[in-house]
Amino acid sequence: MTTLVFLEHHEGELQKGGLGVLGKAAQLGEAHAAILGSGVAGLAEQSGRYGAGKVYVVDDPALEAPLSQPRVDALAEIVRDNGIENVFFAQSVLAADLAAALAARLDAGLNWQLTDVEARDGGLVAKQPALQDTVVVESGWSSTPRLALFRSGTFDPQETGGSAEVENVSVSFEDFSTQATMVEQAHEEQSGPSIEDADVIVAGGRGLGGPENFTLVEELAKALGGAVGATRAVVDAGWYPYSTQVGQTGKTVSPKLYIACGISGAIQHKVGMQSSGTIVAINKDPNAPIFEFSDLGVVGDLHQIVPKLTELVRSARG
């Protein structure tokens, strides 16, 4: 069975997520890779080292910016012309849009949020945690190509030392695919200290009510000797710097202790912190999804609880 893996790149480097998925694809059979961009020919060789037998390179100025739609045209053509049975992606903002649009284009099944896949009865069966991870669904496909989008960080890249045959592909793009244009790209607006190595993270979300209340989170973090994290919603709202953001489009962290204050637990946030040792959540909404994956969930007003907890921690730690 031949599996095509989309390899995303950024600033001249192939991203780890895709390389990890490539290693998984190589375990299932023939693994091919697709590298789509402008001036990317040099990246092809790397894909062989991580398990690709063949790499399709589409090098075109229309693929300069990391936008999904022209990449749909490229992947659709590669899949159709090469008898590809499976197409795998590692979750990212770009890959999710690409995978879903490719599903529509090819009328192909897409399963997402996957944490594993195996060959069974001539087909594939994938593990898909659902409903805030309260159930694990075994998902399959009723036709080919089978499209699969894996949670980020699911598989570690394995360097096998092979080499890939390179095939350069030229693609004709649909009119609508190149209408969206990148005006400004990857402009990181603020910077600050890293939170990836912290043993304790106290994170704040929209439930704080306003940027001024981040002091509550900062004080507790300080008392615990930890760092401060934030959700995408509050970072986008300008309450706290991007460098502290935990989640899909921010940092992935796994501290010993993660205290979530006023965080609902959207999937975007969860994937960045769910592997923390112990998770404590404080939220006033008893139905907040974060309680489904917390070790201790506290339904209550964080504005009352957090300052009191800070005082208690201070005295307990002396």
Binding site: H10, P66, Q69, S92, V93, D97, A99, A100, A101, L102, A103, A104, A108, G109, W112, V125, P129, A130, L131, Q132, T134, V135, V136, E138, S139, W141, S142, S143, L149, Q179, A180, T181, M182, V183, E184, A186, E188, V200, L224, R232, V235, D236, T249, K256, L257, A266, I267, T278, V280, F291, L296, G297, V298, G300, Q304, I305, K308, L312, V313, A316
Partner: protein
């Protein structure tokens, strides 16, 4: 100008899967997917900013679901949307991404809106991909995860966050936009809005009305299957408590017990 907002009814409270059909159990009370409220709010703000006397803005809600999904749509009507279009058909049950995007695209083609808006995810299924499939079927440009949206003449501009920082993307209308939950704080419906919602046009159409072939809908039109359901890996003993005034003490005791202090 016409804005179509795609909305979804989700089960109220924590969802569960019906072991018989292996589908999400939608028999209980439903609510408007709260991520969709951000898309409705974004549409209403565009409508309110448009002061043109000759070309007012119409906000149309489009959904696929059971008849009672109209209840959830009425909440968005109460917020200020102008009318609702619900695709409701028994043979649409069990539709996956391919089948759902096909039926939605058919309805959106009929509406021919200048702007199609989506929320960032379904709160029930963790699904965050539908818009890209719909944009491809409509053959329209797409901007997703938009945290700041501006409309200027025939162009739409979106600022969004990716793994590497912020992007600003521009596209000509008609376009498909998926907004993030950071874009705005959705308004609460006013009493007047709630009373008025019942009188706003609410149309229900079948798949046949839209020209969706039976073999492209529901399980027949879907390309993914549920093989089995299993319990998740256990996370150890999880505790939940309501604050009775002693929550801080209880958290401290928990941290001490786990030797985390």
């Amino acid at each position: 100008m016409k804005i179509a907002v795609c909305v979804k009814q989700v089960p109220e409270g924590p969802g569960k899967i019906d072991p018989g059909s292996k589908r999400l159990d939608r028999s209980g009370a439903g609510a408007l997917n709260h991520f969709d409220a951000n898309a409705v709010e974004a549409a209403l703000r565009i409508k309110e900013q448009n002061t043109s006397a000759t070309d007012s803005t119409e906000v149309v809600l489009v959904s696929l679901g059971p008849e009672k999904a109209l209840d959830a749509m009425r909440k968005a009507l109460a917020m200020g949307a102008d009318r609702a279009l619900l695709i409701s058909d028994e043979s649409a049950a069990g539709s996956d991404l391919v089948a759902t995007s096909y039926a939605l695209a058919k309805a959106l083609e009929r509406e021919s809106a200048d702007l199609v808006l989506f929320g960032q995810q379904g709160s029930d299924s963790d699904g965050a991909v539908l818009w890209a499939a719909v944009a491809d079927r409509l053959r329209r440009p797409l901007i997703s995860q938009v945290a700041e949206l501006t409309l200027d003449g025939g162009k739409v501009r979106g600022k969004r966050q990716t793994e590497f920082g912020y992007d600003v993307i521009e596209a000509p209308l008609p376009a498909v936009i998926a907004v993030s939950d950071a874009i705005n704080e959705p308004r609460y419906p006013s009493l007047k809005g709630i009373m008025g919602a019942k009188k706003k046009p609410q149309e229900t159409v079948s798949l046949g009305d839209l020209g969706v072939e039976a073999e492209r809908a529901g399980e027949a039109g879907s390309k993914t299957t549920v093989v089995a359901l299993g319990a998740p890996p256990p996370r150890g003993d999880s505790r939940k408590l309501e604050d009775d005034g002693n929550a801080a003490e209880q958290i401290l005791a928990f941290l001490q017990e786990k030797r985390l202090l």
